[in-house]
Symmetry: C2
DNA sequence: CTGTTGCATAACCAGATGGTTATATATAAT
DNA sequence: ATTATATATAACCATCTGGTTATGCAACAG
């Protein structure tokens, strides 16, 4: 049976959130949403050395957010969905456990604060 | 005018995702979803020193995920909604930009992969 | 005043992170 | 065979992180 249930795997949540914590990596992901890209193509817009980009890609790969292909000398990266969804799920479950919806939370907390004081 | 629009602020996204990348801190947040708690109350379930918990709380506070109150000697922490919502929004906008929904993404990527090869 | 409780802060440490340059490797082009 | 291109890897560095113990300080309790 193929893995279908995406129970947010605690260990990977660490890696996923850590990967998302860097603005360059988020930009890389956004770029990849537009289609696969090689290391060189990714390095160009950022003023970053090629090895730096390779490192970022390795972080994203370890987090499972991307996968690498092989195309001649190029090793293009493309997005993978699962882990990002795990992150969303954690946040959603958290918000659900916490309260009803994020959109009501600030108001709700304000209210609580007022009623306590 | 009060801040109402929660445009995901890039700088804080760094701090928010970084804060969420630690399992202890996620556990602290989950605990706080149950109600405010003092440093001591938070330190007890984890086998962590009190200063370690204080440090985690400072990280969460810098990310804007919690706020501290003053109650006699205690300095209880409580959740704040905004930044977490920013994180959700980033992920949602990303998924939207990327494709239609996370639930369809893996299938979609699989399909793309197949049609390319 | 004295002691205790709750927390913060400082000083320290090992290991991770994010960047660099230099070098190696593999594929392509000449 | 040589050279050029695309990427990886190594070695190095400064800074950040997550933990510790030791200490300081403010707010009670006696």
């Amino acid at each position: 049976m193929q893995q279908v249930n995406h129970v947010p795997h605690q260990a990977n949540l660490d890696a996923v959130f850590a990967a998302l914590a860097d603005p360059t990596r988020r930009a890389i992901l956004t770029r990849l949403a537009d289609g696969e890209a090689s290391v060189g193509e990714l390095a160009e817009p950022f003023r970053l050395s090629q090895p730096a980009v390779s490192k970022h890609l390795k972080v994203l790969e370890r987090a499972g957010l991307i996968e690498r292909a092989v195309d001649r000398q190029r090793r293009p990266a493309r997005l993978k969905a699962g882990p990002m969804r795990d992150a969303v799920h954690w946040l959603e479950e958290f918000s659900q456990f916490w309260s009803t919806s994020f959109d009501q939370l600030d108001d709700l907390l304000e209210e609580l604060k007022r009623s306590e004081s």
